[in-house]
Symmetry: C2
Subunit: 344 residues, 2 copies
Amino acid sequence: MTSPIPAYACPGTNRRVILATRPVGIPQADHFQLDEVPLEPLGEGQFRVRNIYLSVDPAQRGWANEGANYSDAVPLGSVMRALAVGAIVESRHPDFPAGLHLYGWFGWQDYAVAGPEAVMTRIERVEAPLSAYAGVLGMNGLTAWLALSQVGRPRAGDTVLVTTAAGAVGSAVGQLARAAGGRVGGLAGGAAKAARCGNRFGFAAAADYRTDDLAAAVHDLAPQGIDVFFDNVGGPILDTVIRAMNVGGRIVQCGTASIANWVPAPTGLRNEREVLMRRLQWGGFVIFDHAADYPAALAHLAPMVADGRLVHDEEIVSGLAAAPGAIARLYAGQNEGKSLIFIG
Amino acid sequence: MTSPIPAYACPGTNRRVILATRPVGIPQADHFQLDEVPLEPLGEGQFRVRNIYLSVDPAQRGWANEGANYSDAVPLGSVMRALAVGAIVESRHPDFPAGLHLYGWFGWQDYAVAGPEAVMTRIERVEAPLSAYAGVLGMNGLTAWLALSQVGRPRAGDTVLVTTAAGAVGSAVGQLARAAGGRVGGLAGGAAKAARCGNRFGFAAAADYRTDDLAAAVHDLAPQGIDVFFDNVGGPILDTVIRAMNVGGRIVQCGTASIANWVPAPTGLRNEREVLMRRLQWGGFVIFDHAADYPAALAHLAPMVADGRLVHDEEIVSGLAAAPGAIARLYAGQNEGKSLIFIG
């Protein structure tokens, strides 16, 4: 079955970004190589996806590194694991017709040969720009909503503090927590991002975490204490915020981006007495456990994106050659909004 | 109204254990003084309790120390805060008649003047030795059952690991987790206590935490990983066990007894990535939040004590003069079972 969409027609080769050497910590551009190989044939039950937007995500650091993680390490010599939005150009699966847009595990490459297990969401009806399905309607927005509603559980009047507050997940968390009746504060990297939390995303207050007195900044953001802490960074910021939590507070541990390297395990303030004294509930959240909830989450979020209640930033660069350096750029805090690579 | 029970008749004075100086860390005998004062008159709505068993609890360390805690510090010059089992000998409250046995906040003294707010449980019908109401049917057993069932939530087949496993809370947790279908391992201080976990309390396995290779000992206790960690100690033991937790595991933080002093806050391995990767749910538990659940918990536990499904150890010493050194003795691990002082 050949695609009816000429724009996505296969040119006969596939350009790929390969993990060439194993990073320790943050992957840099020179850990990757680009190559070009003939298209693989489709097996029964498979389909070929022409990638349009490649996603760049903090979790890719963990996927590229050796060692225990919540998914296996990407093997050296393989296509770098990545989410992407694309369209089916050729199919040998009756439920996945050519022309259907998908969001899934299609890797940093032009074309993926995939089966149903690689699909995160089917985009049956495109209600927003396609790029949104890789961000605020993709892993980032699904993470924000499901982690907030299942682990954070904000109640009306709660004070909610979010790290990486201007980022793809954090900015969605802030807006969703506010919509739930919370008073939302943010910590972001730099004054410009902090200002954007208020101006663009409607946070009640936000601050630059790079300050001489973080405890004072946190107190200014949340003078009544914090009921829900949505944390994407860990490290000393977590150590400070946990000491400003209210009794019965919830911590969503959604990432640990502030720590560049977990081998050997770094040290920090002991937090178990804070958990005890403050009767905290501290929960880890990994979006991939929650595939059964994606359709409901998408149904919750898509109307909010459509009518402007949930806004998002994107930083889109063009061309596969931009991919190798994109993870390091994320960790340097140089991106503004969800980082995508357009190769359509 | 005078007591109908001659054995508890008031001799006219009250002997008390006073907090004389402020400890930093574990209170020692010389932080306390004994005195003797005339009996206070009863106000309307009050009753006089003749204490019979005084309780010695790890939490008394926190109550005696300065600084943030889940209850206010005991003021210098006041009776040391303690739980006790006693009987009403004189009453000006219609719902609290003389002769009624109570468990509550009656302090380290012969007689307490108290109101209903000081009562933890009413012992309407004495189904077990009175001492049990200060231990396995008192705060220790209530803590074990409510923390395990509300935060730990063991399922049949789960591996449950308990610290201070031979202690008053730990030994109850182990038996209750086993009754819930769990496979229970324990960590205790010394080979004798570890052996007692198996012989006396029915743990599947137990080990001395004082070993050169704690990670190996934990692996031997729980080769399939740990689903529920009931932790009373914190510190390096927590750091080791958290790295052996299964995905989706629960940690009950019920105490932090291994750390002698929290000012300044000590450091240890960072655990936020473990929370994230293993999708842990880590909750603090303080029994005093759960007063509404005491009657139901007592109703659950009392038949188990009565028919021998829930056994407990007690170490009972006689005389008020034993009280001042009793907390330090607890932290030195010198007691065997629930520590009580009989003064009836």
